[in-house]
Amino acid sequence: MSSKQIKQDQDTALWDKYREKTYSRRGGWIIGQGVFNCGYNMMNDLVGEVSYMQVLILNAIGRLPERRLADWVEAIYICLSWPDPRIWCNQIGALNGTMKTSVVSATVAGVLAADSRGYGSKPLIDGVTFIQNAVIDFNKGLSVEQIVSNACTKYGGKPSITGYARPLAKGDERIEAMEYVTKKLGFSIGSHRKLAYQIEAELQDKFSEDMNINGYVSAFLSDHDLSPMEIYQIFAIVVNSGVTACYMDAYDRPAGAFSPLQCDDIEYMGKAAREL
């Protein structure tokens, strides 16, 4: 029975509309006319005129940022991905390398791994949400001490605030590097970054914990009116270059030579041998 013969009594107008045509609010390639992106003609307006990172941000959020903000994001991209295969996403790159997968497979697998609640880009959502809410609370009259106390209450009194403290180490060398970039590019301090440092001081005093790079990025980009989801979108592939590097390191060695394990290197904790 063809669809025209179906006796239809349900409203399918939405799907009928989108079945008929493909719609885009971003742009596309009109053959013979050009390639368009958020109102820009890509070949005339963007190529050779703006940086790759500006276009990456344009594609992520639909707005073209000023050059120096894109340069700042490029610098933080360098901070957030380095070639150490002990880092979780990088290790996936190395394991792919030892399995002789393609570089693309390895890199996207590592990027996907970093879509994690524990590290990588996803915690930025919580980090940005925290500092943006904190500024709202601060402006309503809450003290820094109260903001920290309220946040800690959610985790049984522990300082588990996204953007502060980090796994493996105390302190974060990347903040100092980025402060250098921030000043070099001429950015002044905004209300979110100012409060982030005040929160850090409170945490240092009470728990000996520091701000981490998530907290710094969250505060800085909040000062530039970006939402939690927009910041997550901008950082979708942030770990890619370190993953590629770790893949290549393992790929260039003999197959199977990255972190090989003997049978007894695995601790078996399960049921004893049994018969069917």
Binding site: Q10, D11, T12, L14, W15, E20, K21, T22, Y23, S24, R25, G27, G28, I30, I31, F36, G39, T101, S102, S105, A109, L112, P167, L168, A169, K170, G171, D172, E173, I175, E176, A177, Y180, K184, P260, L261, Q262, C263, D264, D265, I266, E267, Y268, M269, G270, K271, A272, A273, R274, E275, L276
Partner: protein
């Protein structure tokens, strides 16, 4: 300008020295400690499992640590069959087809399609919340929960209505295949309490043009079988993988022109 190096110190966190597992035990060969001469799954010799058990039984054992009862094996196997293929219209299958026709390396087809299937909209991302919803409400009256859902959930002005995780409309109506799946598995002796409760709930909601979604049925059956909520979501991907792969591979040998590329008149660039 020389940058100072910030003080960074290592935490005293204790990381494991070894990977550990309760699932798999490999017995090394006496000649080479890297080569296994026997593998056991939750204690059973793998070769003996191959000789004495079905694939479905071993799959259940792998995730649940014990072989299934006859009733559990039957309902699990039927679920694997019913959800084996989301069908060629499903976005995940379309991703597989696009990868296939685009001459993507065939070993990438499944990871690509499964990433699409991981979505929150009627995909694997909906399964874990569906399990939690069913578990949270199973002791309540389905009629009262249905009433509460209708009262508290706002039907969107356009698009499908997800009245609860795993329960909603499908292209504006009841997903008839999901309804059939639930009916079929409810007829089996291994039918669990979550599936039975969900059947009552969807009956109460019938007048709202919503019902079981496939994600909800999968959530109910898998949770009834004892799989953990987060495992149910990933298993949903595993169960659907054969169909995704089959459609992707079907297109591997076809020319790129065999898949639609809409003409410009059917592509609308919207401007403010």
């Amino acid at each position: 300008m020389v940058k100072e190096t910030a003080k960074v110190t290592r935490r005293d966190d204790q990381y494991a020295q070894k990977i550990s597992t309760k699932i798999w035990h490999e017995q090394p060969s006496e000649q080479n400690p890297y080569i296994a001469q026997q593998s056991r799954c939750h204690g059973y010799d793998l070769v003996e499992l191959a000789k004495g058990c079905s694939y479905v039984e071993v799959l259940y054992l792998l995730f649940r640590s014990e072989l299934p009862t006859k009733e559990n094996a039957e309902i699990f196997e039927q679920l694997l069959i019913l959800l084996i293929n989301p069908g060629p219209r499903h976005p995940a299958t379309r991703s597989a087809i696009v990868a296939g026709v685009g001459k993507t390396d065939p070993v990438h087809i499944l990871p690509i399609a499964l990433s699409t299937l991981g979505g929150d909209f009627q995909g694997a991302g909906e399964v874990e919340p569906a399990v939690r919803f069913l578990r949270k409400n199973v002791k309540k009256s389905p009629k009262e929960v249905a009433f509460q859902l209708i009262e508290e959930s706002t039907k969107p002005t356009e698009g499908d209505w997800s009245i609860a995780p795993g329960v909603g409309s499908h292209y504006g109506g009841v997903d008839l295949m999901a309804k059939q799946f639930a009916q079929q598995m409810s007829s089996l002796s291994g039918c669990g309490k979550l599936l039975a409760w969900g059947n009552e709930l969807t009956s109460e909601l019938h007048g709202q043009q919503v019902g079981w979604l496939k994600t909800g049925v999968a959530a109910a059956v898998l949770a009834d079988l004892g799989f953990l909520p987060f495992a149910c979501a990933a298993l949903y991907q595993l169960i659907s993988a054969p169909g995704l792969l089959a459609h992707g591979l079907e297109y591997c040998k076809k020319p790129m022109t065999s898949y639609p590329f809409p003409e410009d008149k059917y592509y609308v660039i919207e401007t403010d």
